[in-house]
């Protein structure tokens, strides 16, 4: 009889468990409806729920923030890699010269002799955000250096991303899934890879803007309120100012609207939301100087315009249909119009992406960047771990219980998967949606199994206790398994973050046998030498990879940099590097080069050096100067790229080779290898007798990683190879000649 207690205590438990687990796993109170929080109406449990949500979000933020600090703790608070150095430099300019100066900034230190209009060729969102934070902190007399603001910006924004992901997932599914999604995105490596401390790049803040825009979009489609749509537009504006990836938004949202139309889910809410978004968003996006008139000119924005027109037509027809009676004609007309619009829309999309593809495949400078390569299956698992397996389940749940906003997330998922497959870099746009959908899948599983547990306590049948015991372990096992998976996910995330994504790449570290660490600080050594001991206006030629770092750390004028906007200029540098010394000297003279900087990894076995990149230089140079440079010249007759004696003579005498291996032939690294043994390519170099005529070694860093050469000025007069001709002309005559 005691089982009669079931209903009461069960209910009580359920209430409390609701408070706890609703926040965590299943949100019964807010299921499906946006206004769930209010109408759920359980004031005390709601308080608990919001406290728990708050705590979980805060912890997610904290976890996300701290797991991004590996590099700062291991090394120091420093800007990483290449592009961040440019962003840092511009932010520094913004912080010290003010906003208007920044917008009008003409950088004469880049792309010599062309220069670069920085204000008009960057997405200023990142710099303005960091500058604003710095300004506010300094207003409050919190004297933080702009560098620290830049270093810690991305980790801080990862917390905001977690919160906006939470909001978006809550709109799509329920609060529990939202919290799971927030926890996922806080630590998932796919996102951490772009947002560790020190990685001061557009993506760091753009993912937040992306998620937040999507949240506001879903909110505006749900409510059909102009308020939310305007918020969405503002967020979109921020996104446009932050990252070129805004194109993803301006295509996905129209796609969503289009599919809604196809699915006969047109409503006034959609009409209001999209019309407002398109017009206000368009105008706002055109305020960014770099974007300018692109939204009404280029093909990748045309889909949005097409859908806008289609929506107007559709709405107009709807209006007419209410007024007129000729039903068949109406439907026919509608079908015709929507088909036409659809075809236009699809063809625009097709042209856009095929156009982009063309660029990706056929311009070597884009193909030469490793992050523009297609993604491998391994890296999907590496970056997303278990989420990549569970997110199709989440997608299935969404499609099974379809509504307007779940259409959106389905489209988001499908398009992001496609883009991530095309380019490693775009893994970043896939990560948030994978987190959201996986969270939905996990949340559903937990809801099912943990929820059943509670229900099962209810049956008050006397002898049901045995059954309970039988079923509970099943639930328990599933739950435990899921928890194990999540735990392994967390471990994997931390491991990947720590090992793969937390190297500043400006500072290298090697470990001795006893575990002590050697820091190889060659890059900064050489850059700082340039900064301190060369003329302030000296021009440094290097391959474009190092342009931003030279500008940022050495503060010297560069010829080409990572903003690879001028292919022919880069090709010219490539040509200089791949020609012989005399030809190269001509080019360098014409470009006013004072110093040449190269990266050479042969001493320590650093594989990312210039010799390994050399073929790209040759290819890019060949693209512009096919007569002077031929890729085939740099291969052996067998088609191999070798630096040893068997290598092609063109290679062994080109400037890059000579600069890399100058005096390296005398150097014996250890007793097992001959002098001049290149550790990176495991070969003894083929040309040990390297002499320079027009260059001289200016600086070589401690581990030879960076070598800087000085380009000598022309001698006063060419010295003659032969003796001056002796003539028998009488001096008298000579003067006469001179008099003439």
């Amino acid at each position: 009889m005691a089982e009669h207690s079931g209903p009461d205590s069960g209910k009580h438990k359920a209430n409390h468990a609701n408070a706890n687990s609703a926040a965590l796993l299943h949100g019964r109170a807010g299921a499906g409806t946006g206004a769930g929080g209010l109408s759920g109406g359980l004031s005390q449990p709601a308080g608990w729920q919001s406290l728990l949500s708050f705590t979980i979000l805060f912890l997610a933020w904290l976890a996300g923030f701290s797991s991004r600090l590996f590099a700062v703790i291991r090394f120091e608070s420093i800007i990483h890699e290449f592009d961040p150095w440019f962003n840092y430099r511009s932010t520094h300019h913004l912080a010290s010269h003010g906003f208007y100066e920044f917008l009008n900034w003409f950088d004469e230190r880049a792309w010599y002799p062309l220069g670069r209009i920085v204000g008009g060729t960057v997405y200023p969102g990142l710099m303005v955000t960091a500058g604003l934070i710095h300004w506010i902190l300094n207003m409050l007399n919190i004297t933080v250096h702009i560098r620290d603001v830049c270093v810690f910006l991305a980790p801080v924004f990862s917390g905001l991303t977690a919160i906006s992901t939470f909001l978006l997932t809550r709109e799509l599914w329920n609060q529990g899934a939202g919290l799971l999604a927030a926890c996922f995105i806080a630590i998932v490596p796919g996102y951490i890879s772009r947002s560790v401390a020190g990685s001061f790049d557009n993506e760091g803040i753009a993912i937040f803007a992306l998620q937040f825009t999507y949240y506001l979009w879903v909110k505006s489609v749900k409510t059909g309120s102009v308020f939310w749509t305007i918020c969405c537009c503002l967020s979109y504006f921020y996104m446009v100012s932050a990252w070129g990836g805004y194109v993803f938004i301006i295509n996905l949202i129209p796609l969503h609207v289009f599919v809604l139309l196809l699915m006969q889910r047109y409503s006034r809410r959609v009409y209001i939301a999209y019309s407002t978004f398109y017009i206000v968003g368009l105008i706002l996006s055109m305020q960014i100087p770099f974007v300018g008139f692109q939204p009404i000119r280029t093909s990748e924005h045309m889909a949005a315009a097409g859908v806008f027109a289609l929506l107007q037509a559709y709405a107009f027809l709807q209006y007419l249909r209410d007024r007129l009676t000729k039903q068949e004609f109406q439907t026919l007309f509608f079908l015709g119009v929507s088909l036409a619009a659809g075809i236009v829309f699809l063809s625009v999309i097709y042209l856009t992406y095929t156009g982009e593809w063309y660029a990706k495949i056929h311009i070597p400078i884009i193909a030469s960047v490793s992050e523009h390569q297609p993604t491998t299956w391994v890296s999907f698992f590496f970056d997303l771990h278990i989420l990549v397996c569970t997110f199709p389940a989440g997608l299935w749940f969404c499609i099974k219980n379809i509504n307007d906003e779940r259409v959106f997330v389905a489209l988001y998922a499908i398009s992001a998967v496609y883009f991530a497959g095309v380019m490693v870099r775009l893994m970043l746009t896939l990560t948030p949606v994978v987190c959201m959908l996986s969270a939905i899948a996990f949340s559903n599983v937990f809801e099912h199994y943990l929820g059943d547990d509670m229900k099962r306590e209810n049956p008050p049948v006397e002898d049901s206790s045995d059954e309970d015991d039988k079923r509970n372990p099943g639930n328990l096992i599933v739950t435990m398994l899921m928890l194990m998976l999540l735990m392994m996910f967390a471990v994997h995330c931390t491991w990947v973050t720590s090992n793969a994504y937390s190297s500043p790449s400006v500072v290298l570290a090697s470990y001795n046998h006893d575990g002590t660490r050697n820091i190889l600080d060659d890059f900064r050594e050489a850059y700082y030498w340039l900064r301190q001991n060369t003329d302030e206006h000296a021009r440094v030629m290097s391959w474009w990879d190092y342009g931003y770092q030279i500008a940022g750390m050495a503060n010297r004028t560069t010829l080409v940099d990572n903003n690879t906007w001028n292919n022919s200029h880069i090709a010219l540098v490539g040509k200089a590097m791949s020609s012989n010394e005399t030809a190269a000297y001509e080019i360098m003279r014409s470009l006013d080069v004072d110093y040449v900087l190269i990266i050479f990894g042969g001493v320590i076995g650093y594989s990312g050096d210039d010799i390994n990149k050399f073929l790209w230089m040759v290819r890019i140079a060949e693209g512009e100067h096919p007569k002077d440079i031929r890729e085939s010249d740099y291969f052996t007759p067998q088609g191999e790229f070798r630096v040893d004696k068997a290598g092609s003579p063109t290679l062994l005498n080109c400037l890059m080779y000579k600069m890399s291996y100058y005096r390296f032939g005398e150097m014996q690294l250890d007793f097992r290898t001959p002098p001049g043994f290149d550790r990176t390519r495991n070969a003894e170099i083929g040309n040990k007798d390297i002499k320079f005529k027009h260059l001289e070694e200016a600086f070589t860093s401690e581990h030879w990683l960076v070598r800087i050469y000085k380009v000598k000025k022309l001698d006063n007069r060419e010295t003659l190879d032969h003796k001056p001709r002796v003539t028998n002309i009488v001096p008298k005559q000579k003067t006469a000649v001179l008099d003439l």
């Binding site: 009889m1 005691a2 089982e3 009669h4 207690s5 079931g6 209903p7 009461d8 205590s9 209910k11 009580h12 209430n15 019964r28 209010l38 109408s39 759920g40 109406g41 359980l42 004031s43 090394f75 120091e76 608070s77 420093i78 007399n141 919190i142 004297t143 209810n458 049956p459 008050p460 049948v461 006397e462 400006v506 500072v507 820091i519 600080d521 900064r524 050594e525 050489a526 850059y527 700082y528 030498w529 900064r531 301190q532 001991n533 940022g552 750390m553 005096r663 390296f664 005398e666 150097m667 001289e696 070694e697 200016a698 600086f699 070589t700 860093s701 401690e702 030879w704 000085k710």
Partner: protein
């Protein structure tokens, strides 16, 4: 406190000294005689350190007692003088530093100093004083440009004689060089040469102001490091910390490197780049903590810290070796506990810190700026310096939690050497109440933050009233009450069940009856409450009202069942019912009841 007093005495003494000086100028009789002058010129580093032992005599039959004497500097060297110190050796071999003051002598160029003697020199008396002078940038590299493989040679130009306004009876000059490798040297009076030492003299009866150029050209590979400019910021916090940060611009001022720098030669040949500087040692105070060494582009990873008993030794390696003409720039900073340097008596505070600290041995600082940031609210600032410094106008500095700014003392001094590492004392008053300002500021800020959140959450800021939402909220409130009441009511049945069970065991009818009674009364109360809430819901016009009435209906059925089962239990106990029929009935009842309860649950869920 003791030295506060001392300090006052000191200033008073200073005043008195100034008065005396006027007399002293008159008293500095020109007719003193240098009996003997032994001079050593140490050129083994990049400095020229001249020390001279003077045997000063007031000849018998002189004009009277001399209170001070004059020191002179040749016109060529005078701008390069960094430090001048005069000491007198007393009978007990203790050394007294004498007061030195710059003066002018009519008709003579160069620099002149009057040195006050401890006691006036009466005619016929003698005194031994030792003079120490340090000159910077007097060793000129020659050749001025060298390659990496070459050694560095420098030229020194000085005076064979000890330049003095007094006639000298006998004098000698020793020149100490950095190496035995001497290109050339002037050979006045056939100097003797041994190892790295040149000895000139003795010269007899030299008239005043005699000059004769001494020139040495020799090899000197010692580090020619110069701090071209340095900013030293000392930030005092009354919370127990003094932060020191030095920004150093360093330059190798020896012969300039010409031609290539070859890393291969530098690594493989020991004497390649012999005059270059790879690293040097900076000695920090023993209590220094959290030392950092960095520049504009981050931490400089090539340094080592060694903590000794009486100091912290830092081996500083610039990012790259410094060759002639190369320069670098770095920032070094550390924290010190304030109890070692900050003294107070009530509101009177005194900070005693080194004006300049050690950077490397034989250091030369061309230009130094010291900024001492005192706590916010420090007043009556007064600086006592051991030597002359140029005070600039005070500044204000704003940092964490500052409102009206911290006073900053700014002082400059040029051309400094190791001998200038001396303490400077800053006196100020500070009201201790001000210590509370910062914590209160933080507390206040949090208070305001929480308060705004409270206000925001509690008050309704919407512009338009939304009656629907309000009604919804009201309904939500009522339904919640209903929920708790219904749960309570269901709880009553459980209590009653317990009573029935007890009754079954104890067969005591009174427990059953009392249980029944409580059930009845409480049930009535709860039901009526729910009914009243139901009517409220009705007035709100909510459709939940119907659901509540459904609950009420179901509940009455439940109650019936409960009562029925209790009656059956009574009958069982009374023996009017067989046990198996009872059990069967009971099962039936419980199933029915379960059904009803789940129905209620479902409705509750829907609420």
């Amino acid at each position: 406190m003791w030295y506060l007093l001392l300090n006052q005495l000191y200033t008073m003494a200073g005043l008195a000294w100034r008065l005396l000086l006027c007399l002293g100028c008159a008293l500095a009789a020109p007719d003193l005689v240098l009996e003997e002058a032994k001079r050593t010129v140490d050129l083994s580093t990049h400095l020229a350190k001249v020390s001279a032992e003077l045997n000063l005599a007031n000849p018998p039959g002189g004009a009277g007692p001399a209170g001070a004497f004059l020191l002179a500097l040749e016109p060529g060297l005078e701008p390069r003088l960094a430090y001048l110190g005069v000491q007198v050796k007393g009978e007990e071999e203790e050394e007294n530093t004498l007061e030195v003051r710059e003066t002018k002598v009519k008709g003579k160029s160069g620099k002149f100093f009057t040195v006050k003697l401890p006691s006036p020199l009466v005619p016929g008396a003698k005194i031994r004083v030792s003079v120490e002078m340090v000159f910077t940038h007097v060793l000129q590299p020659y050749p001025t440009h060298i390659t990496q493989a070459e050694k560095q040679f420098v030229v020194f130009e000085g005076n064979h004689y000890f330049y003095s306004p007094y006639p000298t009876k006998t004098q000698t000059t020793r020149v100490k060089l950095a190496s035995r490798n001497i290109e050339s040297y002037t050979k006045l009076g056939n100097p003797s040469r041994s190892e790295d030492m040149l000895e000139y003299g003795p010269f007899k009866d030299i008239p005043p102001y005699s000059q004769d150029t001494l020139k040495v050209h020799y090899e000197n590979n010692s580090p020619f490091l110069t701090i071209t400019s340095m900013t030293r910021v000392i930030e005092v916090s009354h919370w127990g910390n003094i932060a020191v940060e030095e920004t150093v611009d360093l330059k190798h001022t020896g012969a300039v490197l010409k031609g290539p720098f070859s890393r291969y030669d530098y690594q493989r040949q020991p004497d390649s780049g012999i005059s270059s500087v790879k690293s040097f040692k900076t000695i920090l105070p023993a209590a220094a903590q959290d030392v950092y060494y960095r520049d504009e582009i981050g931490n400089i990873s090539t340094s080592h810290l060694l903590i000794l008993d009486d100091s912290v030794e830092m081996e500083i390696r610039p990012r790259f070796p410094l060759f002639g003409g190369w320069k670098t720039h770095y920032i070094i900073g550390y924290n010190l506990p304030s109890y070692e340097y900050l003294y107070n008596l009530g509101d009177q505070y005194a900070l005693k810190m080194r004006f300049v600290d050690h950077v490397f041995d034989e250091q030369v600082t061309d230009s130094l700026t010291v900024k001492i940031i005192l706590p916010e609210g420090a007043k009556n600032i007064h600086v006592d310096s051991p030597y002359e410094i140029n005070r600039a106008a005070d500044e204000l500095h704003y940092t964490y939690l500052d409102t009206f700014g911290r006073p900053v003392i700014v002082a400059h001094k040029n051309n400094m050497v190791e001998q200038h590492i001396q303490d400077v004392v800053v006196h100020y008053t500070f009201n201790k109440i001000l210590m509370l300002q910062e914590p209160l500021l933080v507390v206040g800020a949090f208070y305001i933050l929480f308060f705004t959140v409270i206000i925001y959450v509690r008050l309704d800021f919407s512009i338009t009233k939304d009656p629907a939402a309000e009604a919804r909220m009201k309904v939500a409130c009522i339904t919640e009450q209903v929920l708790t009441l219904v749960n309570k009511r269901l709880g009553l049945y459980r209590h009653f069940d317990e009573a029935v069970n007890k009754y079954k065991q104890s067969r005591d009818i009174s427990t059953l009856n009392s249980g029944k009674k409580t059930l009845e009364t409480e049930h009535k109360v709860l039901t009526s409450e729910i009914a009243s809430l139901q009517s409220k819901l009705k007035t709100e016009g909510s459709d939940l009202c119907d659901k509540v009435s459904e609950i009420q209906k179901l509940d009455s059925q439940v109650k019936e069942l409960v009562l029925k089962s209790s009656v059956e239990a009574e009958r069982l106990v009374a023996g009017k019912l067989k046990k198996d029929t009872y059990i069967e009935n009971e099962k039936l009842h419980s199933n029915k009841r379960q059904e009803l309860v789940t129905k209620i649950d479902n409705i509750l869920d829907a609420l």
